[in-house]
Each structure stands twice: as C-alpha cells, then as structure tokens.
Symmetry: D3
Subunit: 223 residues, 6 copies
Amino acid sequence: MSVVVQNIERADPEIVAGLAECGVATVHEAQGRKGLLASYMRPIYAGAQLGASAVTISAPPGDNWMVHVAIEQVKAGDVLVLAPTSPSEDGYFGDLLATSMQARGGKGLVIDAGVRDVRDLTKMGFPVWSKAVSAQGTVKETLGSVNVPVVCAGALVNPGDVIVADDDGVCVVRREEAAEVLAAARKRIAAEEDKRRRLAAGELGLDLYGMRDKLKAKGLKYV
Amino acid sequence: MSVVVQNIERADPEIVAGLAECGVATVHEAQGRKGLLASYMRPIYAGAQLGASAVTISAPPGDNWMVHVAIEQVKAGDVLVLAPTSPSEDGYFGDLLATSMQARGGKGLVIDAGVRDVRDLTKMGFPVWSKAVSAQGTVKETLGSVNVPVVCAGALVNPGDVIVADDDGVCVVRREEAAEVLAAARKRIAAEEDKRRRLAAGELGLDLYGMRDKLKAKGLKYV
Amino acid sequence: MSVVVQNIERADPEIVAGLAECGVATVHEAQGRKGLLASYMRPIYAGAQLGASAVTISAPPGDNWMVHVAIEQVKAGDVLVLAPTSPSEDGYFGDLLATSMQARGGKGLVIDAGVRDVRDLTKMGFPVWSKAVSAQGTVKETLGSVNVPVVCAGALVNPGDVIVADDDGVCVVRREEAAEVLAAARKRIAAEEDKRRRLAAGELGLDLYGMRDKLKAKGLKYV
Amino acid sequence: MSVVVQNIERADPEIVAGLAECGVATVHEAQGRKGLLASYMRPIYAGAQLGASAVTISAPPGDNWMVHVAIEQVKAGDVLVLAPTSPSEDGYFGDLLATSMQARGGKGLVIDAGVRDVRDLTKMGFPVWSKAVSAQGTVKETLGSVNVPVVCAGALVNPGDVIVADDDGVCVVRREEAAEVLAAARKRIAAEEDKRRRLAAGELGLDLYGMRDKLKAKGLKYV
Amino acid sequence: MSVVVQNIERADPEIVAGLAECGVATVHEAQGRKGLLASYMRPIYAGAQLGASAVTISAPPGDNWMVHVAIEQVKAGDVLVLAPTSPSEDGYFGDLLATSMQARGGKGLVIDAGVRDVRDLTKMGFPVWSKAVSAQGTVKETLGSVNVPVVCAGALVNPGDVIVADDDGVCVVRREEAAEVLAAARKRIAAEEDKRRRLAAGELGLDLYGMRDKLKAKGLKYV
Amino acid sequence: MSVVVQNIERADPEIVAGLAECGVATVHEAQGRKGLLASYMRPIYAGAQLGASAVTISAPPGDNWMVHVAIEQVKAGDVLVLAPTSPSEDGYFGDLLATSMQARGGKGLVIDAGVRDVRDLTKMGFPVWSKAVSAQGTVKETLGSVNVPVVCAGALVNPGDVIVADDDGVCVVRREEAAEVLAAARKRIAAEEDKRRRLAAGELGLDLYGMRDKLKAKGLKYV
C-alpha cells in the first residue's frame, strides 16, 4: 500500500508564477473561497512567497524516511507537501534536506508537522510553512507514500496541484482549474485598484458597494 | 436589535497619546492589573504601538459587513475593536479596509478573529492585533452592532474606551479613568527609573524592595 | 519545603559555549534525541542563541517572588529556568529584572509561562524563550524554591544543567554528560559538512545514505 | 480596590425557575443569541440543570480565598460565578466548599478555572460547570472582589444576573431582562411543539419554514 | 457554485451493518490505518455506535441553512456529515432537526462543529459525534453544498461513503472498498479471538508475536 | 541506549492501597501540592480509582512496541505509565493489551497519548487515564525504554513510584515518601471530618478558619 507515483502532471509554470504574484488572499477569493489550509500553518520567516507544483508525501508520525524518497521525484519549481498520518510536531526537515531540495530546483516545503534549522533555512531563503518549529528528530523505519492525494492541514492536495503561499497562509489550487483561477484572480486585482483609489480618497465602502439600502432593509438602526 | 450608535464620547487625545507612550505593561499595572486582553492577541508585526479610542463592532462569525458600517463612525485617532459573536478565525479585514481606515484617520484594528493581507498592512504601517492570520474570506449577510459594549478576547470594551497596544499585547482603559490611569502610569515610570539605575549597578531586588525579612518570616530556607 | 540551594555545580564554560555553537537540533540529536522542551517554547526575537547553566525556579502561578530570590544565586553565564507549579501565562519577568540579571552576568530566561516588556528586552539583547508574551502582572505572596529539579515544558532540568537555545527551541543537557555530548555534537557537524557538499552537488539522500535496498525490502512500490 | 458588595438585587425566584426549565439553548435564542459562555465550560456530570442568581467572584490565579468570602454573601437560590484575573486551571473548589454552599442554600458553581472532588460533588448533587477538572490546590494570600461585574468565559456577568446552565453549557440573562426573556422563551417553546409534531410526521423543514424560494433566489442548484 | 447532488450511490446496507459491528478501531486497521477523523470528534453520549452512508454538507461558519436542504436528501440508513468552510463551534443542530432526521430514517450526525440539545438527543437515542457542544445559534443566510466531497475533521468524505463511529471516534470507508474492508475486518476479528484467549491465559505478546529476536537485533538491553 | 530495567523496588501494597483510598486531591495536598499530572489526563470512564506501582515506558510517537516489552515486567498491583518521546495522540493500547495486563495482575494504564477500544476496556473494568481517545494504530519498529524515569504529562515518574488516580486526575508519589504521605493524608482526612460537619451546620469558612482579621489587614472593604 506504500507507493511512489513517479509521473505526475504539473500546471504551466507561467500560470503558477502568475498565481504566486496574486497572493493567497486573492487566489482564495478568486476560486470561490476554497482550498485554504488551516490558519495554524505559518511561514518560518516574514515575507516568504511561493507558487509551486505539489509533490505530496503521506508519512507516519515522527518518521521522515519518505522525504528522502520524495526528493528524487522533485523537479524544478516543485514544493513538498507533507501530511502525517496522525498529528505530529516533530522536525521532519532541516537544512540538509533543504540543500538537497535546492540542488534539484525545489522551491519550498508545506508541512502539517514540524521543521528545524529554521535559522539556516532562513539564510538559505528556503521558505517553509509549518504547524510547528521543533528540533525533535525523526526516524527512518516505516514506509509512507509519495504523490498520492493527501489531506494537509484540512485541505485536500493532489500531486501536481498548485500551491500558493505567503504571509497570509497557504492555498491549494486544482491543477485543472489553475488557468481559470488565475484569470479570475487577475480580474479581481484590476477591480481592486479602482476601489483602493476611491477608498483612499475618502469614499466609504457603504457607498462604493451600495450597501445602505440592503442594511436598512435588514433592519439596521442608527441611534 | 442591531444598532449603530453614532455619537460616542472619546478621551482627550493628549491623554490617549500619553497612555500609548507608557506602554501596555505599565498601563495595566497602573490601573490595578485589569483590562488586559487574552495573550493570544498578537501584533502582525513587531514594534507596533497604539493609543486610540475604541469604535466597537459586534459581528457574526465569518461576516464582515459591520466593519464597513463601523468605518463611517471612525474619527481621526480611533481604532476598530471587533468581537465575533462566536469564535472565528476568518479574515475579516484586509488592505482595502485599511486603506479606507487610513483615509479617515483610523489608526489600527484589534480583532478577536483573523486578519489578512498582512504583508500589505505591514507596508502601510497599519497595526493589527489579532487572534489569527487567515486569508479566509467573509460574507456580508447578517447584521451586528457598532459602538455597543463588547467582550473582546476576555475583556469588556465600551465604545470610546482607550486602547493601548504594543508588543506585549492589548489593554483597555475606561474612558472615565483615562486621566487618572495616565497619572498613575507616569508616576510608576518615574519610580522605575531609579530602580533601573540601582539594579543596573548590581543592587539586588531583595534589598531594593526590602524582601529579606518577609521571605524569612514566610519560612524560606537557604541550604 | 521552600528552599534555596545556594551552591550548585556548573559545567565548564568552554563546554557550554561549545554546545551553544552547535545549536539545539544538533545537540538534541547528539545526546540521543532527549532533553527537548515542548515546541510551544518560542524565542521573543529571531536569531537569539544561548548556552548557559541553569538556575532553576519552581514558582506558584502568577507569583514572581522567587525570581528576585533566584537572581541572587545567578553567576556570570547562568540562565534562569522557571517552571510554574500549575499552568500560567502571566508575565513574571520584564525589563527591570532583565537589567538586574545583566548586571550579574545572567544571560537569559527560559520560562514555561509569560514574559513582558519584550520590546525592551529585545533592545537589551536579553533573550527569552517563553510559552507566552503577556503583560499580566504577578504578586509576591507565596514561596517557591530555587535550584531544585524542575519539570519545565515537559523536560526535567536540574540546577547546573546546560541549557542550549536558539530559533529551533530549547534543549537541556545534563551537566555530567555535557562534555560527552559536545564531542558527539562536533563529530556530527563534521560528518554533516561532507553530506551537505554532496547533497548540494545533486546527489540524492537515497544514494548517500544507501536507502534503496532497505526501502525495497520493506515493500515500497514505484508506479 | 478589593471590595465585597453586600447587597445585590436578584431576579424573582419564579422567573429564575422558569428560565431553568426552558434550558440554555432556548433561553439563548430567546434573548437574541447573546450571553452564552464559551463552549469549554462543561458540566462535571451529565443531566445537571441550573437556574440561579449570580454571586460573582473575581479571584487571582491559583488563589481561592475569595470563595470563602463570597459564600457569606450567598442566599438560597444563588450560584457562585468565578472568573480568575488571568487564565488558571487550578482546583479552586471541592467538597468542603460545596458542603458550605449547600448549608446556605447555594445551588451550584460556574468557574472559568478548575474544580476538584468531582466524585463527591456528583454524589452530593452539587452541579459545577468548569473549564477543567484539577486536583491542583490553591492558596489564600491575595485579595479579589465579590459581587462586581466579571467577564467569565467570554461573557459579562453582573451580580444578580440569572445563570441558566445544563448539558448544553451556560448562559447569562441580565436581571432586568429576565422576565421578558422568559416570556420570549416560553413563546418559543410553544411554537416548537407544533414544528416538532410536523417534522416528526415527515414534513420537511424546507416546506415548514418556506425556504425553497429563497434558496432558489440565492442560486442553489440541484443536480 | 452551491449545488445539491440528488442521486448518490450508497453501499449495500448489509455491508454497512457489518462494518458497524466490527467497530472503528478494527475497521481502521483493516483498511490500512486510513480514514480516521481527528480525535477531537467525540460522541455526545457513551455507548453510541453507528454504521451509515454519508450525506455530506459543506456549510459556512455559523450557518445551518444547508442542513435543512440536506435532510431532504437523506434516505433510511444515512448519516449527515457536516464540514464548515472555516472553523466553527456553533450549534448547527438540535432536537428539531434530529426529529426530522429520525422521521426520514436518518441515523445520526458527524459534525466538525457544535451541536446542542444534547440532553434531548440522548433521550431520543440520536447519536452525534462533534467537535463541541454549544448552544450558540446559527443563521440561514448563505448557501453551501450538499453531497459534494468534504474534508471533515481532517478526513476526506465522499457522499455515499460508509461512516463507522463508536466510543473510539469516527472512521470513513470508501464506498467502493466497503466490501473488501469488511472482509478484512472480519478476518482480523477472528484472528484476535485466538490471541485474546492466549493472552488471557498469561502468554506474553513478546512470545505470541515472536518479538524477542527482533528486539534483540535492534539492540534492546535488559539490565 | 534502549534499556529494560528488570528489577525495580515497589512500595508496600498496603500503603499503596491506603493512598488510593485517600484519593488524588487529598494525596496531592498531603505531599505539599506536588506530583500532579496535567489536567488533560482524563479517565475513560467515571468512577475509576487506582492505587498502583508504576512500570514506566518511554516510547517513540506512534509506536507501541515497548508496551509489549513492559508487560513482561508487570507484577500484580502495577500500572503502566507511558510517556511518548514527542507529542502523540495515537491509540497505543486496546483491549488485547488490557487482557494481557489483567492476566498478569496489572491494574491500569496512565498514558500521555491515546487509547482505544474504550468500550471494551470499560466493560473489563480496566481503568485508563489518557490525553486522548483515538483508534489510530501504531507500529512496532523503534525501541524505547522500560523502567527508566519519565516525564509524563508534566510530572516526573520513577519506576516503582506510587500512582494514585481517580476522577480528579492522576498524582505520583515518590516510593520513598509513600508511607509519610499516607500518614499526612489520613491526618488531613480526619481533620476534614470535623470541618465538614461544622460547615454543614452552617458555620462559615471565614469563621472556621479565622480569616476575618487577615482579610481586614490586607484591606478588603465591605460596601
């Protein structure tokens, strides 16, 4: 039951880059408010931004053997997405694995568990979104799987799905929907430009979005 | 039952500024160790400091409609204080709302829920203390109230109360007590100066505060 | 039952310094993956690094009297390690106590509770690893003990044990084992240098660590 | 600043009894979905039900001195409501205090902290809603206040307010609104009887509440 | 984007009943240790046992409108599985909805949020596994979807999948794999009978499972 | 580094039985308010009571191999005390292991992780205090140790120490201090009898404990 799926499809790199540029909040809205990982997934340093294709890992608690297996499957522009089979905060990943990832063009890690060597990872510019920072070591005893669908921090991630991550958290976009979501996200950004200008000039959202009548109809009282 | 209270009283701006300068820990002590919000309320960036008058929002979980309503009530020097009616981590507030706030002289946000666009908010110098960072979007369907008393992160906040916030957290000062608290806080700071100098010179707190006899009376043994 | 143990043994300062340099993750591995404090113990600022001898404090919840008592026992190169007798997030420690600590050569604080004045502590370069940041004040009413064994954030700490702390968390090394652990840690670092170079050159962990046969024997399938 | 308010007003005992009979969920709805304490407040045994007037306690963490002070203020039909001034799980209350409460006609305890001797309390039929069960002892060193407004588990409770509690949790009703809330709650219960009968007969909520048109208008698609 | 899928396939009722009889721990093991929901999902009363086909609900936080929509889709032998689109503890479900469920042959509820009226639900013998018990009411304002795949408490649940639940928690079995998992679970139970007898007779697991050699090979020392 | 200590000393069975009878709250007080495990350690059924000698287990996360090893070390009157080397909620223990324990005279389990088959364990009258109930299976791949000192739920437990557990939680008593603690506990119970009678007769704790003067001296005001 432990498998490594070797050939996965990925989204077009330009689309992935475009999504990264739009950012998590916009992408999440653009695809109908779905795909967000739990808010406890935090970046190890401020300012990190990522758009990448997911190489997924299902790993036992406290066992990082499959990370080594997964790195062989990584291509330039990929991110590892690790979900433990039961809750764990152990430090599955550190600077040596990051060195190996960077040597293969890997761009980051999203892990519903712990990470360590965060000072080194920060210096290397290797971004990680994790549930915990922990020096706790792991073993290499039990198999898991690579490139199977996983539930990571409450979101389903398929291998090859697009991961967008920044200071606001992590969002997954289905590979098949990536182009469409990018188009919607860009449209959203364009529309926001005008709104931002008007709000900056002092116009109220109540007027800009025409909310006053609806609020009144619902029964809001001003006293 | 959903109301917007339009005219609230605020504390004297000089007093508010004075309290901000004293900082949360000192103000909290000066008013008898009350008014502190729960410690899970953290700033989105280090070094943020705030003194402002509260415009309060009671909002349903996952619904930010009343934020738009509240911004119309904001005057220069105000901070929004949002308490959801049941626990939520959703991202009620982002850069567009912050733009609108800044256009009206609003100084920040204290929210017992989530915030998003934190990278942009940081660039804008718009400080937020929140329970979570989350890109999760909200709806605009259900009414709440503006400028009613709310319990935010375990502390009662009345509209017009003074909010002091910094890296240590968030503290609320009753509007009616603000002047008195400021006086006590300044006295405290003056007294600390002397203590700091003596401690820096190597004097022990045991001697500075005259604790040795009391410790002995309580039965402390040195072995 | 409340005691202050005045004469404790400490590890050799050079060994302590050596352990600090190796860092938490390496030291933790080198001593057989033991001694790590819970991952909720986080530094108040990024980049803090500490190697020091523990002066331990067992204190009641919300009462920092024994911190004053403990500081008298601090020698140059020591760190305070405080464990409350029941869970607390109160701010036991602030800038005045840090001033006193620095005047005596104290190097930092590890506290399974809260800390305050973090902005000032950061400016002073006084590192703290804590469970919480909280301005909540404490009283000085009930005795505790100084330099007795304590369980701090899930780890047993004896007075005089070596504390190593950095961005990855906090690890305790038994005083008696410190030299041996340092030797093992340095050996580990040396071995990692070669691995890092080979991984950076694109070699896979699967080959570097000779994992392929064992994975196959366990039944891993590539599809 | 530590006070005991000796004369508080209470609601009419018949109204209090009526509210208890309606139960927490109904009372909470009847007063416009406000006044509910946080869901972590759980009864120590299943089936407990309470309607009572609040004698409030603001107490330091890990210090139950004020519980003794408060019991003197208890009259028949009262419940103690304790809020610590900072988070605590200590066992402030056990079977001796419950014996004293029962001797004075006290009906129960609501505590945003811990309770102990739960086996004895269960045998005595003395209901408690608490954040934790913990044998951890407390001291009697620091003052607090009795019969001042407190925020308990996220809800503001004034002395004399009505507390309704059962397996669903704890709800507070303002003393001044108790009669009105009871009327609304009874109306609600009457209305539910008819609904229950129709639903039990197989009628759908979609039809009973006339939801189909509104769902269609919002855009719900059946596929 | 809000849809109700009306025709879903369900597993054979005899297979569902067989899985329920095997219990969560056995079924979870029999299908390769997958499909378990997070351990915070607890039954509202001890002794509840469930085997049923999932009618899934994706609902906004604090909004139970889609529960009404979902009940129309329930057939005899079904269980509702509700996942909020962002974390919520609100009480989406109470005795009226349970009455409606029972009228249609619905067997229970699994909800990654709150439930209320638990005393009545217990009396009705209507089992619920939930994240919280909370009287907090919900609104009926925003659409969600029914019978779409959802991630509930960390596990992917497709409409028509088999839900097995008891005092140990909740497990989901893919509809397509249900027969095969039942066969494996029954085999496991048969094998356990012999083991139980031998262990009860005093034989050690070390001998029964032949572990001594492997432990020795791994380096376990007896001292 | 993985060892099994085969010969451990245990306390006198009559003393152990005496401590169990006194209960957790009394024993904890009698030994100076130390030795209590964290309050998240809850019994799987109400009314369980335990006094037993600890056979300790240090086990990797998600790996129950050492439980089998430990059972061979169990003598009549022992309890297993398991501490994982990093946080885990997995179900290390179920009805087969309980059968084996009972066959050897083992009396229960205290585990800072998960347990499963709780319905069967309840029927068997096999008490467990745990952090979680979880059906999540474990592996048998990595060694740990048996009968070494462990930190379990925040308390240090040495092999042979006495474990007292009931509805209030779990307390550990040092083997060497067991007789003395029992004497103090019995004295405490005797003293409480008189207090209970007086409190039941309506006397106030304020008078019984002579608190009025001290409260006045501290400054308590009655208004």
